[in-house]
């Protein structure tokens, strides 16, 4: 194990995979400037600064992926994906299917999102659910450096187009990362961060830490919360979520993204359709509001699910068993 930040874990994953496979190349606005060491070690042909044009960066990556290369593109901030939607959703997500399996798209798209830097809704938009809904794409959103490294490496080796989201708030947080260059985290496997029998907290990215804080506080109050970090939003580890809900009978889903048709809706629906008989209380969603992200630090904080909200919801569920008052706690 070695201690490093999320940013370093991502960089190391890129370096190791470029080292391992000469077909891996990196493209984006400033990747060659910001990762000069990779240019030095792997050459300018494999680490390319691009024009400021997301549609052609993504489209070029799709074309290259179908032609024998394994591109990783850095599109910087999630809202900029708006310019790359055709390449990602209509080409990468559909042309394998529409061609009857003639093409594969080993392609990873990097983007940052999430509150932390007071940059506002045109840099901070948790739109990962849109890609979960789109067919043919995979979506990853880890919460700790070891997974950032291990999942990114797996995604680069995978044959399917993958969106890899980095929660800005986690970029400079440190964690223990296995030293081996073969540290691979499988896609579609959630991580149980804490075991507990009384209720299940499901989350991903920065709000996993919120759930861990809440679980700590609940523990002090005699409530044992199980905390599941999805990590991989698609493929989704339905089995781990269902197993936990069938055990605890209580489910709270927490994320920063807004609620409507978000990942929390999917998890709640999963429980309502496939673990109904085990549910002892209403499912609870604690999500960001149906609003763009404001820049103001005060509003960024107000939009973010906080541990006390999770704690209060959890206590209510455990206390009242199965009473049915509103348990759809969108922030604000």
């Amino acid at each position: 194990m070695i201690r490093m930040t999320t940013a370093d874990a991502i960089h190391l994953a890129l370096r190791e995979e470029m080292q391992r496979d000469p077909r891996v190349l990196l493209m984006g606005e400033g990747v060659a400037t910001k990762r000069a060491d990779l240019v030095r070690d792997f050459g300018a042909a494999r680490v390319r600064n691009t024009p400021l044009a997301e549609a052609i960066i993504a489209g070029t990556a799709v074309g290259a992926a179908a032609s024998g290369l394994r591109p990783v593109i850095d599109l910087l901030f999630a809202p900029f994906l708006a310019y790359a939607m055709d390449a990602l959703i209509n080409s990468a997500g559909k042309l394998r299917y529409l061609s009857g399996g003639q093409f594969e798209f080993p392609l990873v798209t990097l983007a940052m999102t999430g509150s932390a830097w007071c940059v506002g809704a045109q840099h901070n938009h948790n739109l990962e659910a849109m890609f979960v809904h789109a067919p043919g794409l995979q979506v990853l959103m880890p919460s700790e450096p070891a997974d950032f490294k291990g999942l990114l490496k797996t995604a680069i080796r995978d044959q399917n187009p993958t969106l890899f989201f980095t929660d800005m708030a986690l970029l400079y947080q440190e964690g223990e990362v296995p030293q081996t260059s073969e540290h691979l985290v499988p896609l579609g496997k959630a991580a149980i961060r804490r075991v507990g029998a009384d209720l299940t907290l499901v989350s991903y990215a920065k709000t996993v830490a919120i759930c861990m804080q809440a679980a700590e506080q609940l523990h002090a109050q005699g409530i044992a919360a199980e905390v599941i970090d999805l990590r991989s939003l698609k493929p989704l580890d339905e089995a781990t979520v269902l197993q936990s809900v069938r055990k605890t009978g209580r489910l709270i889903v927490v994320h920063e993204a807004s609620g409507l048709c978000g990942v929390a809706a999917e998890i709640a629906a999963l429980a309502a359709t496939q673990a109904f008989d085990s549910l002892r209380a209403p499912v609870v969603r604690i999500t960001g509001p149906d609003a763009p992200s404001a820049s103001s630090w005060a509003l960024e904080q107000a939009a973010l699910p906080q541990a006390d909200r999770v704690v209060n919801a959890a206590r209510e569920l455990v206390a009242r068993g199965t009473s049915g008052s509103n348990t759809n706690l969108h922030i604000a």
Binding site: A55, T60, A66, D86, G100
Partner: protein
Amino acid sequence: MTATDSHLRLRQLETMLLIRAYEEQLVELQRNGAPGTCTSVGQEACAVGVIDVLESRDRILTNHRSAAHLIARGADPGRLMAEVLGRVDGYCGGRSGSLHISAQELGVVLTSTIVGGELSMAPGVALAQKMGQGEPGAITAVFFGDGAACEGVFHESLNLAVQWQLPLLFVCENNQWQAFVHRRETMADEAIASWARGHGLDTQRVDGNDIEAVQTAAKDAVAKIRATGRPQFLELVTYRLRGHFEPDDQAYVDAAELKHWQSRDPIHLLREWLLGAGLADAAAIRAMETRVRARVADALQFAQASAWPEAETLTEYVYA
């Protein structure tokens, strides 16, 4: 004009006749409810003239109006028709239908019916070639229309190809129509090439209904790409003689303009030229017409005999 040339032109005429017969057969099926298609009628010389100068190692991207490109590249009309009808023996197992037919085995890849889609992916195909994937010295040709040139990604694609020096041939079939909108309503200038020149690209603009002009320009452009590794731009001025998507009564089309271009039908022009130059006689051409009709009849039989995909296969090929 050498013997081989005349032999070549005869072969090209037969290919153009085959494309025409194939598409007219589809139009007939569509009168009885078969899925619609965007035909290439009137643009056959563009496809045949350019694709005849490409080699098997080269890659081709096309769009919704792909039949001429595919047949010129040697696609089997039976498998094409099966695809249009959504049957398992189609090039894409029936998943594509007429609008996004790829045939990797022919080097026709990543066909997209999203206008501009092919322009967004073509630089990546050429980049892979430049970086050593596929056969050495291979190039990519991307066929698109005047409408696609109005999409922003056209500009992005040209800029990247120029800046990264990609072995990419841009082939714009300017057929004066963008679905139900005439080109003049969408562009101040009638030449797409003037936009391309703004990118510092070598451009040629030729009569797309004159196969000799098309092929000469294409040969020159392809030679330059192989020699320099840099992109080239070819604008073929032509006309969409039928509707946008069958069935289409063309009520919105200016009759005089249509009539003018009908008189310049590329098949008509080539046939007259061959007859006039004494390189073919009416009998030889009638024989050709009989052969292509027979091939299309076989194709139809093959396609209609082909099975529907099984419901159980619905989710195959979503993920690798």
